[in-house]
């Protein structure tokens, strides 16, 4: 049994909220740069050049890449041999978010009630997911998620007969419907299988995998590649002004499902596809 004080979680989450909002992960930055080099269409090239300039300014001036600094999605993999001491885990995470969003001059974008809509003023609560895993370490990942892209996401409960084709068409159709709204170039997270609730989580987790790491199953790796090609053939382009670079990547995550079902979910992320991770 190893002891981790939850105060350390507060600090880690605070730091990651700030870091994730200022520093674009290298895999995403590389794809934006590469996209600009490959664009034949002047408005698209110009937009991608400005996006590179933007994340470079954010890095240099230590300000957020985007003004929508998101809701804080926090994923924890907790080793089962860890004992947590101090304030409760969820409180520690929220305190980290509270401090990070205040000290990092990040935008507070959370309302306490979905219908009555009063801002909580400190960007809490976080959307916390905890998985218990083997070992005596703790992995924390913070992914601030903007809602321009979140709003363009979709979920469908297909009959099994819809098959591979039904799921693929659903993904492409979702991107087409979203058009310029989610700040293309986008990153597309696809969940297939599980249940109604699980498939959405799969799609969200798909967004966390680096873009240069294809699915470990060659069948799904090929599907990721095919979907990316089909999406970029739509011609929506950066900002929706036409072009080659509609998506920077497509990641798929799957889970076993019921004999009667084929759930599918598409979680759209924008080019500001952010996350930071720490191991305690």
């Amino acid at each position: 049994m190893r002891e981790i004080k939850t105060g350390a979680i507060v600090d880690a989450v605070r730091e990651m909220c700030i870091e994730a909002n200022r520093e674009l992960p290298a895999d995403v930055a590389d794809r934006i740069r590469a996209g600009g080099g490959a664009e034949p269409w002047p408005p698209a090239r110009d937009t991608l050049e400005k996006l590179v300039e933007n994340f470079e300014i954010a890095h240099r001036e230590k300000i957020p890449i985007c003004q929508d600094t998101g809701m804080a999605c926090v994923f924890i993999e907790l080793g089962q041999d860890v004992h947590l001491s101090g304030i409760p885990l969820a409180e520690a995470v929220n305190e980290g978010v509270r401090r990070g969003y205040a000290q990092g001059f990040l935008r507070k974008s959370v309302v306490a009630d979905p219908l009555r809509r009063r801002n909580t003023g400190d960007n809490t609560p976080a959307l916390l997911h905890v998985d218990i895993v083997p070992g005596d370490q703790m992995e924390i990942l913070v992914a601030p998620k903007g809602f321009g892209s979140e709003n363009m996401s979709r979920l469908a409960m297909f009959p099994p007969a819809a098959g591979e084709r039904g799921v693929k068409d659903f993904v492409v159709e979702t991107v087409k419907m979203a058009g310029p709204n989610p700040c293309p170039p986008i990153v597309v997270g696809v969940g297939i299988g599980g249940s109604f609730d699980r498939v959405a989580l799969l799609a969200k987790k798909a967004l966390l995998r680096p873009l240069d790491r294809p699915h470990s199953d060659p069948y799904y790796a090929a599907m990721e590649k095919e979907l990316l090609e089909r999406i970029n053939a739509l011609g929506i382009g950066p900002q929706g002004f036409g072009g080659l670079t509609t998506a920077l990547g497509v990641n798929i995550e799957t889970f076993p499902t019921h004999i009667a079902g084929l759930p599918a979910a598409v979680n759209i992320n924008c080019h500001v596809s952010r996350h930071a991770a720490r191991t305690l």
């Binding site: 269409w41 400005k50 996006l51 933007n54 954010a58 985007c66 321009g148 310029p180 382009g237 036409g242």
Partner: protein, 188 residues
Amino acid sequence: MTGIEIGAPLAREEALKLRAGDAALISGVLYTARDAAHARLIELLDRGGELPIPITDAIIYYVGPTPAGPGRVIGSAGPTTSYRMDAYAPRLLDIGLRGMIGKGRRSPEVIAGIKRNGGVYFGAIGGAGALMARCVTAAEVVCYDDLGSEAIHRLTVKDFPVTVVIDAHGNDFYEIGVRNYAEGGMKP
């Protein structure tokens, strides 16, 4: 950065000259408003009240900036998705609003309002808030301070880069741009 230089507030005659796909640089005064502020403005109009901003020829920027850090005028300040303001925009256009800056598609009702009034819808680059913040030389809260980032701000901007997405004649660059690109390498 290059583009047609225009001022804000923007006269109708100037708006009429703009064409979908034009790059423009805006200098002058913009007012910020998002969902919550729009709801209040419309409620105010319903009650017969006077708007807290000079609406004639005004350009509203759909943005909720991040707080300004030490020594800064404003934090990150890029556009939010515009369709959420579609329910309110025609009403404001009809009483003098000239331009809107945001990102993403607009409803047929907003496009009709733009045509009817000689307005214009500009797109700023979504997710480039750090870049655009550089063009803001002054920022102050006008009203609705309780809304935090969603309060109405008065922004003074210099060479703020935008693209004309929907012009006063109803042309939509989200359609034209994608079509021209698909047809192969024509100049936008």
